[in-house]
Symmetry: C2
Subunit: 291 residues, 2 copies
């Protein structure tokens, strides 16, 4: 093992979960957060000790996307770690910030674990949050091979699977599979405002599943979306056009066009890895919302 | 118990599940389906015996919405049952059909169990499909009180909760909480066609939840939507407008408007009964799609 000491900067849901996962593997973890209350709570939860400037093998920067570059620059100035990574859900902007701030790009491996919960903060953290999940890594041409190897080890210690991908490609991908679906779930949930209690009382598991992620923190998601505006807008425009066309077809009684959308949905759903056309193990078997 | 003998007409997912639930409660169940293979499979699965015209206390008509009126008229002509109900996911059209065909509306209690799965057919049926779920009943001014009482007993035997609601109100409600969300899930799933395998490899639980119901049978859903076109179109238009506005706001960098949609989504999500702002018991704790 080459990661014996790690620093986690930012003790929110993701940072604290990384810290807990590393602690379980016997790594010495130091914690730092400008929110001293969050840092203290993470310590109490067993995520690690307060950081007092100790040098570490790896620093995990788990702060909002727009702060990653600044924090990386600070840490590198202090010589805090041999290797740095971050966990922000967009990658092109933080990398551009790091370049602009003159950071050492050889020791920085941009990363993004595809995991989360609707709840945020250290109290929601769990060591197994990343278990079996993809974890994107976006090394650039300057990235040191040894740095990448060490961050791959972090991913492995957290039980996740590393997926190496270009930063731009990553951002387009998460716009498609994560950011735009979040906005769509929010729009479906927002539409419920027009329903009365009887209508809401007829809600089934399907509606609960479609809207579950809409419970996420709006300010956190604002930050995520603000770092990925154009790719997300592109996906939303296509979905909005499909829905407007479906509505228009329904009004005119042209069910063929709607059926085509439903068929394309079945095909697209089948492209998600691990789908088997049925319920996941341990999930509620009562599935579709209507019948 | 007043339901000692029941007839289930249509041995698909819902009909066979009703039959299995009634069998578990000791009700004698007869089965009928124009698809003799489906009927035989339901019998083999223990859902009941083949119907040979025996008179029953209650007939459950579990056929597609556009066939409910015809089937009701046939059964009433034969004097098959004392009370009739159906399970179609729209209510105004089947009731209008029944009126047009001169059916006896006193003995007919239109119904709709809010339960289902992505899979269809008798092999997917289970006795507990309706357990804890709402089951809409739409009696009209002509409906006999004793008929309603008997169908309430059916709902209770299936472990569901009866919700009495007007037919038009029901159809608007399910457009909002079931039919429109299904089309939206299909549109999100359809958008995945533009993603490459790397993008799809970054899919998390959030995307799986948002798109799960999109795996439903397109032809079944075409029939459902064709009986509820205007209410569904109205909901889809509002959602499409919200998404188009969000895309436009993202392109112009106006994150306030997007944040407002996210906030409305949190509020709307909170209106769904039984939501507690977190994961449901036994569900994957790793929730949000992105971080």
């Amino acid at each position: 093992m080459t990661i014996e000491k790690a620093l986690v900067v930012g003790t929110g849901l993701i940072g604290t979960s990384v810290a807990l996962a590393l602690r379980e593997k016997g790594v010495a973890v130091f914690l730092s957060d400008v929110d001293t209350e969050a840092a203290r709570l993470a310590q109490v939860l067993g995520a690690g000790r307060e950081w007092a400037g100790e040098g570490v093998d790896l620093a995990v920067i788990a702060v909002p996307p727009h702060l990653v570059g600044d924090r990386l620059a600070d840490l590198q100035k202090q010589g805090a770690a041999r290797v740095y990574t971050d966990v922000a859900s967009v990658k092109a902007d933080p990398i551009a910030d790091a370049e602009r701030l003159g950071c050492d790009l050889a020791s920085y491996v941009p990363g993004h674990p595809l995991a989360g919960r609707e709840r945020s903060g250290p109290a929601a953290a769990r060591a197994e949050l990343f278990s079996g999940r993809p974890w994107a890594l976006c090394p650039g041409p300057e990235t040191d091979a040894e740095a990448l190897r060490r961050v791959r080890e972090l991913v492995s210690l957290c039980g996740a699977t590393a997926v190496v991908v270009g930063a731009g490609e990553h951002d387009s991908a998460v716009a498609l599979v994560s950011h735009a679906p979040h906005v769509v779930a929010s729009a479906v949930a927002a539409s419920l405002a027009s329903g009365d209690d009887v209508a809401l009382g007829l809600a089934g598991q399907g509606l609960r599943d479609v809207t579950r992620i809409a419970a996420g923190d709006p300010l956190l998601w604002r930050r995520i979306l603000s770092g990925n505006t154009r790719p997300v807008a592109g996906v939303l425009e296509r979905i909005a056009a499909d829905l407007a066309a479906a509505a228009s077809a329904l009004r005119s009684g042209d069910l063929d066009e709607v059926t085509d959308l439903l068929r394309r949905g079945v095909d697209g759903h089948g492209r998600i890895p691990g789908q088997r056309g049925g319920s996941l193990p341990g999930r509620n078997p009562a599935g579709s919302p209507g019948r």
